[in-house]
Point group: C2
Chain length 133, copies 2
């Protein structure tokens, strides 16, 4: 029996490779872009949809459910009738920061014209200011 | 006109986000697992196929082509009649090391039963010994 107080009990890994096992959880482009948006302070379905990559709404809904079920994000209702949810990174999700940063560093090095990490940090600061966080 | 001497000219990014742009290049599970195998010293189509995730051969062929066209790997014929290729990480590919490590660290922290980074380094050492590299 699973404890009802624990939503995401640690499961034994399908494979002992930590990379393969991690990729099973967040290893697709859309999941990683939603996680990026959460780091940027975006919280709602509508905000994720406004990102320049235009994630299709059915994929977005599926990824949010999956990220919640694996304990990367949690949702909380910020409005009733109709109920609307805000999504937030859990501690487990926030610990994906180094994965994001390593990819950003690589992109900066090899893909001309991309924002630098410091420019991104600057944008994040502005974002969180405008969202009253 | 593109210079014929340069296989992978830097292209302007589709989007200025370095994460989204990087994910366009390597952001799928199979590509990342092939890159992992290359870090482990695997070099041939047959060796990649023997990995425990059992990548389907048509996907493997497609990913190898894509990783070559984006300059992450290069191939060289190690046998003629029939021609057989070995695949190697380029410098650009080797610089994905920090991305791999960040994912491994996260997997170790959150997925019970996965190999630790030091166990993996130990296996890599043994591997490269047995392959006379």
């Amino acid at each position: 029996m699973m404890s009802p107080s624990r939503k995401t009990p640690p499961k034994p890994a399908r494979l002992p490779c930590p990379l393969a096992s991690s990729l099973d959880i967040f290893g697709d482009k859309w999941s990683l872009l939603v996680i990026r948006d959460l780091f940027f302070g975006k919280k709602t379905f509508g905000e994720f949809q406004k990102s320049p990559e235009h994630i299709p709404s059915n994929i977005l809904a599926e990824r949010l459910k999956r990220l919640e079920s694996t304990g990367i994000i949690r949702k909380s209702a910020y409005q009733q009738k109709p109920v609307r949810y805000a999504y937030l990174l859990t501690e487990k999700g926030e610990h994906l920061g180094p994965v994001m940063k390593a990819m950003v560093d690589w992109g900066n090095k090899y893909i001309p014209g991309t924002y630098s990490f410091s420019e991104i940090m600057e944008m994040m600061k502005k974002n969180s200011g405008s969202q009253n966080e």
